[in-house]
């Protein structure tokens, strides 16, 4: 167990400066979108800029009060990404005369406020460790919710939605948080047992069956998501989370290999036997076949996205000047292509660098964390963010089959926004705890610095 030490300096003023920078990027984007449309209505610009600035400052003040040692870069990057997403959704709205951007702004407000509440209510991420098994139960419930008849809805072939009145949500988005909490809690408590106990076959240390049971449940869950809910993207995400957290906990590459083998086996099985996966792979490989292009649910979406990005080229058409609305789902699944077209390769690269920086800061919080649970949780959450980006960018660029994952903070969709903002709140919390000055008798040699350290369970774990 080790952690990287940084001098305990609250960097809130730096954060404020960066935040103003992020907000000015957002305001510039809103302005460009508004000015390229025919209407002279400036109301949208002020509402968007104002609401976003208010929300950002709310979180900033919350951090000053409750987590003043938190990483100063995470919040500004998130605000910038969220603002860019809003601008692009508004831009597509103007072209298609829809009104998604107001919904997205509303969801941003809800998500930021809930993130603030999470920050205020939990304060110390180690509290979450108490809810390890409750988190597993919550994950199962969240994932099963859409299967309840009359409650769950099937959209675009995936049954991952629930509807409450006019409100629809993807509970699976929240499951990536609860699953991360479960994995982190379970692995931080049981990693020694998993590592030491059990038979050894060759170089492989096999864990005892009962130690692995909860992990297997989680694994089956992610398979279930694929088979029953037909949601390839989330399934990949859960698989990835599962493998990475085991790897971080055990540091054994053999487990990653086993995990990847399971993924490969599952992937081949799915690709050959499940019609919706087979179709996706076919669409991916033969995207430029005119028949597949024209087929219902064919490659039209991805190919149009490619054409759009090619149109944008190196410098892009300029925000509001291209025609990203020609691509289906230009404001959600294909929002990366929309940015590629209007901001060009250069602008899109900047966005991707923002994501890379954000994820690096998340993993940096994991490195600095003083407890195993925090390390695992921060690593798992950061990885979730990263994998989402990679799966969706890889899909849009036709490096891998396209799946319906949301681009974090940018794609239109409330559930994803909410879940990702909660992740940010947790990462901020963990980074605060890893950077704040040591208090009391907790020293670097204390293996377990969790609130549960004195409970019998925790003692047993030592």
């Amino acid at each position: 167990m080790s952690e990287l030490h940084t001098a305990p300096v609250p960097r809130r003023n730096l954060e404020l400066v960066l935040l103003l920078l992020a907000l000015s990027v957002g305001a510039a984007a809103f302005f460009l979108v508004g000015s390229s449309s025919d209407s002279d209505d400036t109301k949208d610009f002020f509402v968007q800029t104002g609401v976003l600035a208010g929300l950002a400052l709310l979180l900033h003040i919350m951090l000053r009060i409750f987590a003043k040692y938190a990483d100063p870069v995470i919040l500004p990057i998130t605000v910038a990404l969220n603002a860019l997403g809003l601008a692009m959704i508004h831009r597509i709205d103007l072209a298609k005369t829809t009104s998604q951007s107001m919904r997205q702004l509303l969801w941003t407000a809800i998500a930021v406020i809930i993130a603030a509440i999470v920050l205020w209510a939990i304060r110390d991420h180690r509290v979450l460790r108490r809810f390890t098994y409750i988190a597993l139960l919550a994950s199962i419930i969240l994932l099963l919710l859409p299967m309840i008849p009359g409650f769950g809805v099937t959209i675009n072939g995936a049954r991952i939605w629930v509807r409450l009145g006019a409100f629809s949500m993807q509970p699976g988005e929240l499951a990536k948080i609860t699953l991360s909490i479960f994995f982190a809690g379970y692995l931080s408590s049981n990693r020694d047992l998993i590592l030491m106990a059990g038979r050894k076959i060759g170089p492989l240390q096999l864990p005892r069956r009962r130690d692995m049971a909860p992990m297997v449940v989680a694994w089956i869950l992610s398979i279930g998501v694929l088979v029953v809910q037909r949601d390839l993207g989330s399934s990949i995400l859960f698989f990835g989370l599962f493998i990475v957290m085991i790897y971080v906990a055990t540091a054994r590459i053999s487990w990653v290999l086993i995990g990847l083998l399971m993924v490969a086996a599952g992937g081949v099985f799915a690709a050959t036997t499940m019609s919706h996966v087979t179709r996706r792979v076919d669409v991916w490989l033969n995207a430029f076949d005119p028949e597949i292009y024209q087929a219902r649910g064919g490659s039209m979406q991805i190919v149009e996205g490619l054409f759009g990005m090619a149109d944008g080229g190196l410098f892009g058409t300029g925000l509001g000047e291209g025609s990203p609305y020609r691509v289906p789902l230009a404001n959600s699944d294909m929002i990366i292509a929309s940015f590629g077209e209007e901001l060009g390769l250069i602008g899109l690269t900047a966005i991707i660098l923002l994501y890379m920086l954000l994820i690096s800061r998340g993993l940096r919080a994991a490195l600095g964390s003083r407890d195993t649970f925090g390390k695992l949780l921060a690593a798992g959450l950061s990885f979730t963010l990263g994998l989402q980006c990679i799966v969706i960018i890889g899909g849009v660029t036709r490096l891998i089959p396209l799946t319906g994952l949301a681009t974090p903070f940018m794609a239109a969709g409330g559930s994803s926004l909410l879940a990702n903002w909660i992740i940010i709140s947790l990462l901020l919390m963990i980074s605060h705890n890893s950077r704040r000055p040591m208090t009391g008798g907790v020293g670097p040699t204390d293996e377990i610095a969790t609130p549960g350290a004195t409970t019998p369970k925790a003692v047993k774990n030592v």
């Binding site: 167990m1 080790s2 952690e3 990287l4 990475v244 790897y247 971080v248 906990a249 055990t250 540091a251 430029f288 005119p290 292009y293 190919v303 490619l306 054409f307 759009g308 990005m309 090619a310 149109d311 944008g312 080229g313 190196l314 025609s323 020609r326 590629g340 060009g344 390769l345 899109l348 690269t349 991707i352 994501y355 890379m356 994820i359 690096s360 993993l363 994991a366 490195l367 195993t372 390390k375 690593a379 990885f383 990263g386 994998l387 980006c389 990679i390 960018i393 890889g394 660029t397 036709r398 490096l399």
Partner: protein
């Protein structure tokens, strides 16, 4: 554990870098390839949001972009007198691409031609939308209208009228025709449905302009070339007496015969003038077999057979076959076998005779006008081919008075107009539902004889002999009357 976290970071970073490489490939290295992909309609979409130049006849638009509020695009292409001009304009559509002049003149009409670079730059800096240039055609609106309307609705027929001195195409009309507006609708499903309905019409394809894309047997109109070859050889003149048997043995195949409907069988020997006027087959077969293949295929080539031609629509080359057996050659020279000619090609034959042996390049574009009314292109008349000498051309021109005066083209005679013409009737081997044999009926000629103003060609597909002969004659007559206001 930290080691593992660092490795996770490295793995994620590597995957991000791969994504960036993928993006660079799409947006930089292969962006042009993607832009040119046949599925990529983005250029088209851009065009549909810009005012496209008009195609004009006599200064009035026959194809124009009009503002629309269908919510999809800013402009809708509209065709005026659509059926008359369908085979010329073609259509400009989202669902079915574009054809004919809409396709051929695209660079002008969209303004992407290099001659309009300055206009595009100005538009960019002034913030105006770049407009395409308009193209004025050589077509005479009144002649085109009459040509289209005089063709009986139940026939597949084409009329071509040109000015032999300049090559200007004055009328080029065909039936059956269609309404390009049906195919230019923005709704792709409606366009597809209309396209399906349209292609079910026999003898109609929106991709084919029968005047330039469909070579058929020219029959005896081809004998104009026979006469040119005979006169060029120096072995024959107009008064040379030739054997005129009813049947000529030509080796392996069935014998060549004179057509039963004519009066050829009245004379066992006849002059070149007579056999041309009455269109007798056997003396022409015998004469050309004597002259040989080479001199004749030279003549055919000079008259445009096998030649590439853009007017600026690309004209499908007419053909005269090579390396034929004796009987095949004997039939090929009277416009059967594998001799196939487009109506425009046969009209070019008449143009050559009318213009002292020189075929002027047939042309549809009078001028291209930029949005600021500046003329940016005005094609000058130019020679396409020297088909024969002026002397021979004039002699053939005189001979072509024969059929109108006392031969097969008498039914086209117009009092007061010195029309020169040659008929053609080609066997198709096809029959109608009643078992009546079907022919291609032709007439090609020019008027007036002493100072030709127009060359006119009538071509009718697959008609019974009498209908074809009568219709070709009456169309030629009406067209001549239309030109000379008789």
């Amino acid at each position: 554990m930290n080691q593992a976290i660092k490795r996770v970071w490295i793995a994620l970073t590597m995957m991000f870098v791969i994504c960036l490489a993928g993006l660079s490939y799409i947006q930089f290295f292969s962006s042009e390839k993607l832009a040119e992909n046949s599925l990529n309609k983005r250029q088209l979409f851009r065009e549909f949001d810009l005012p496209r130049g008009a195609i004009l006849v006599d200064g009035k638009p026959i194809a124009e972009s009009v503002p629309t509020d269908d919510g999809q695009f800013t402009y809708q292409r509209r065709y005026n007198d659509p059926q008359q001009y369908a085979h010329l304009t073609g259509y400009y559509s989202l669902a079915n691409g574009s054809t004919h002049l809409e396709s051929e003149l695209n660079d002008w009409l969209t303004g992407s031609s290099s001659d309009l670079v300055f206009d595009r730059l100005t538009a960019m800096f002034t913030g105006q939308t770049a407009e395409g240039a308009s193209v004025e055609l050589t077509i005479d609106g009144e002649l085109q209208k009459q040509a289209y309307e005089m063709i009986p609705d139940d026939l597949e027929a084409t009329i071509v009228v040109t000015d032999p001195k300049t090559g200007d195409i004055l009328a080029m009309a065909s039936k059956p025709s269609y309404d390009p507006n049906d195919l230019a609708v923005h709704s792709t499903s409606a366009a597809a449905e209309n396209m399906k309905e349209l292609t079910s019409v026999s003898g109609l394809s929106p991709y084919v302009n029968p005047a330039i894309d469909t070579p058929i047997w020219p029959g005896s109109t081809f004998k104009i070339l026979n006469v040119v070859a005979a006169l060029e050889s120096g072995e024959y003149d107009r008064t040379t007496e030739l054997q005129n048997p009813n049947s000529l043995d030509v080796g392996s195949g069935p014998p060549l015969t004179n057509f039963s409907a004519g009066i050829c069988d009245r004379r066992p020997t006849a002059t070149l003038d007579f056999i041309f006027t009455q269109s007798c087959n056997t003396p022409f077969g015998a004469m050309l077999l004597d002259l040989g293949e080479k001199p004749f295929s030279d003549v055919a080539e000079r008259f445009g057979f096998g030649q590439q031609l853009e007017i600026p629509l690309s004209v499908r080359p007419s053909t005269f076959p090579e390396n034929r057996t004796k009987d095949q050659f004997a039939r090929a020279v009277i416009g059967q076998d594998d001799t196939k000619a487009t109506p425009l090609e046969m009209n070019m034959v008449a143009m050559a005779i009318a213009n002292d042996g020189v075929i002027m390049q047939p042309n549809l574009v009078k001028k291209v006008v930029a949005p600021d009314l500046r003329v940016i292109e005005e094609p000058k008349p130019k020679a396409f081919s020297t088909a024969t000498t002026p002397e021979i051309a004039n002699e053939v021109a005189d001979m072509m008075a024969g059929p109108v005066a006392s031969g097969t083209a008498m039914n086209a005679r117009v009092p007061g107009v010195d029309l020169r013409a040659k008929t053609g009737t080609a066997q198709t081997g096809r029959e109608d539902a009643n078992g009546t044999a079907l022919f291609n009926s032709w007439m090609t000629g020019f008027a007036p004889g002493d100072d030709p103003q127009v060359a006119i060609t009538i071509a009718i597909h697959d008609v019974p002999y009498n209908t074809g002969h009568n219709t070709a004659g009456s169309l030629m007559k009406k067209m001549t009357e239309a030109v000379f206001n008789k």
